[in-house]
């Protein structure tokens, strides 16, 4: 067989690693939850069920099968989009997930836009201007220290209760109403991560600014703006891209907390509710969605890096 060209081999390898990560994560999560203490049967039937009823229910749920068999059933089901049944809601998990995925996706999307706008502009400002750097550093230092649930509480207190500009909870219905409802949550979610992206951007830009080819270009009398566009931006974009990728992956997990602050009926709040009520089918499904988003984003970033930076292509063979 002919040797495949390097880049294609790299793509195949990266995709295989991504699939492997998902499989390993699903196995760990499923087995950990399957071995967790708690009895789903008494949760369904209540304490007064007879032993025969219990045995029948155990059989129906397949609880007497070995863990590996149960994992196999779950995996084949999950690949078809069947994530089992929720014990508390008495509904298919996929039916529970469907409306909530949209809410969470909109929240994450809004937060991402905010993060990129604020993080990239603040970071570029801090990385290029000596006058603004201390102010940007101070803002960043404060931003990374405010966790989402505290930012959310403060925002509710000021903008929803005091000023009444925004609703205090819920996700709204219809597009504009939803955006209005999700504005404060998106800001709460974006705060820490914008600071992180700003920090990374600022470091990357000031690093590039000190490089010899940038100094040479400046010495040749090329305008600052042009040097920035042609020599700094592209080189600095690689670490920034990595940081932004980690951000989006972290946002989905961050929404777990922020949705609970604003009582938004999304994936995150369903995860917390299901954990509290020991309802493991939604827990497994939502954890896997978070892992999947994470794996997809990091894999895309990985491939995009190679596309952006020709130097990496040689190393990938």
């Amino acid at each position: 067989m002919r040797q495949l060209p390097g880049p294609i081999l790299h793509v195949i390898r990266t995709l295989a690693a991504a699939a492997g990560t998902m499989l390993a994560a699903s196995f760990v999560i499923f087995v950990a939850l399957a071995l967790a203490p708690g009895d789903p049967v008494s949760q369904i039937l209540g304490p007064r069920a007879s032993d025969a009823q219990r045995a029948q229910m155990r059989d129906q749920l397949g609880l007497d099968d070995p863990v590996l068999v149960r994992y196999w059933h779950w995996l084949t089901g999950a690949l078809r989009g069947d994530f089992g049944t929720s014990l508390t809601y008495r509904e298919d998990v996929s039916a529970l997930l469907e409306p909530r995925i949209l809410t969470t996706a909109l929240l994450v999307l809004m937060a991402t836009i905010l993060i990129l706008l604020v993080g990239l502009s603040l970071g570029t400002l801090g990385g290029t201007s000596d006058r603004w750097r201390p102010a940007v550093n101070a803002l960043v230092g404060l931003g990374v220290a405010i966790p989402g649930f505290i930012a959310g509480s403060a925002l509710i207190s000021l903008f929803a209760v005091r000023l009444g500009w925004f609703p205090t909870f819920g996700a709204g219905s219809g597009f504009t109403d939803r955006v209005w409802h999700l504005t404060l949550p998106a800001i709460a979610l974006a705060m820490g991560w914008s600071a992180y992206v700003a920090q990374m951007t600022s470091a990357a830009v000031s690093e590039e600014n000190k490089r010899e080819h940038v100094l040479t270009a400046r010495g040749r009398g090329i305008s600052r703006a042009s040097v920035f566009r042609r020599h700094v931006l592209l080189n600095a974009s690689i670490p920034v891209l990595t940081a932004s990728g980690l951000t989006v992956a972290g946002l989905v997990a961050g929404s777990v907390v922020v949705e609970s602050v604003f009582a938004i009926d999304g994936l995150g709040s369903l995860l917390v509710k299901s954990v509290s009520s020991k309802d493991y089918a939604p827990v497994t499904a939502i954890s896997m969605i978070i892992v999947a988003v994470f794996v997809i984003v990091t894999t895309t970033i990985d491939l995009a890096q190679v596309a952006l930076d020709p130097r990496l292509r040689k190393q990938t063979r």
Binding site: L35, V256, L271
Partner: protein, 284 residues
Amino acid sequence: MTTLTVLPDVAVVRRRSNLDMLTVVVATVCSALVVLAILGPFLTPYPPAQTDILAASQGPSAQHLLGTDALGRDILSRLLAGARLSFAGPGLIVAVSTTAGTAIAIWSAWHGGLLDKGMNRVLDVMFAVPGILVAVLAAAVFGSGFWAPVLALSIVYIPYVARVVRSAAVRERRLPYVEACQLAGMRPSRICSRHILRNVAPIALAQGTIAFASALMDFAAISFLGLGVQPPVSEWGLMVSDGRSELLDGAAQQSLAAGAMVVLTVVAFNVLGERVSRRIGGNR
């Protein structure tokens, strides 16, 4: 004459201890917070669990400097008493993850080669896993309480320390003195523990300080979600969540005071860790 001989001395002393104001301030704040975490429960003006329904949900007053919560408990007392648990969780997390992370980092850097490459990969993946998700899953498996998030986050935070220490240890490994020790017949375990560990320890401590700040946020978030320590104990994340109903009625002092304590602590420890690591020249 005497002044002339004294002045240069002062200048030399100043140059040696070129601690800037900010470092001194954050170091003081951090020490004060640690003292508060240890002594907090003894400094409270009221017993933190004492309820007084007649004085419930009051604003700040001379008797209750930060007011009272929905059960009439003194918020300032709960804030002071809550420092202990808010610090104990992340403190334990960082103690475990810094120790384990440093050990893994030195071991991996010493052996190098495939093992080091593989370990580096594992740490990269672990670094990217969101701590909150792991802590929530741990609460699902082990039940809510103090130990589930502490256990989960202790593992999650290993790469925070290990990645930085590993790169320092790799640099250290290449220095001539290591080879000299080997030629002198010193055992690898001894070189690692006597020499490499001592040289990378400041970097591990600086990184551990920063990890403490992040762990404090995660631990408080888990309590806020109701999956960590349970009422009626007082803890800052729990207080932010306890104060939510009053916050919606316009009395935000409980949530905001507890939130402010978290933010203050995180800023102080972050800045301290960064200053220290910049001072010792560890790369971040």
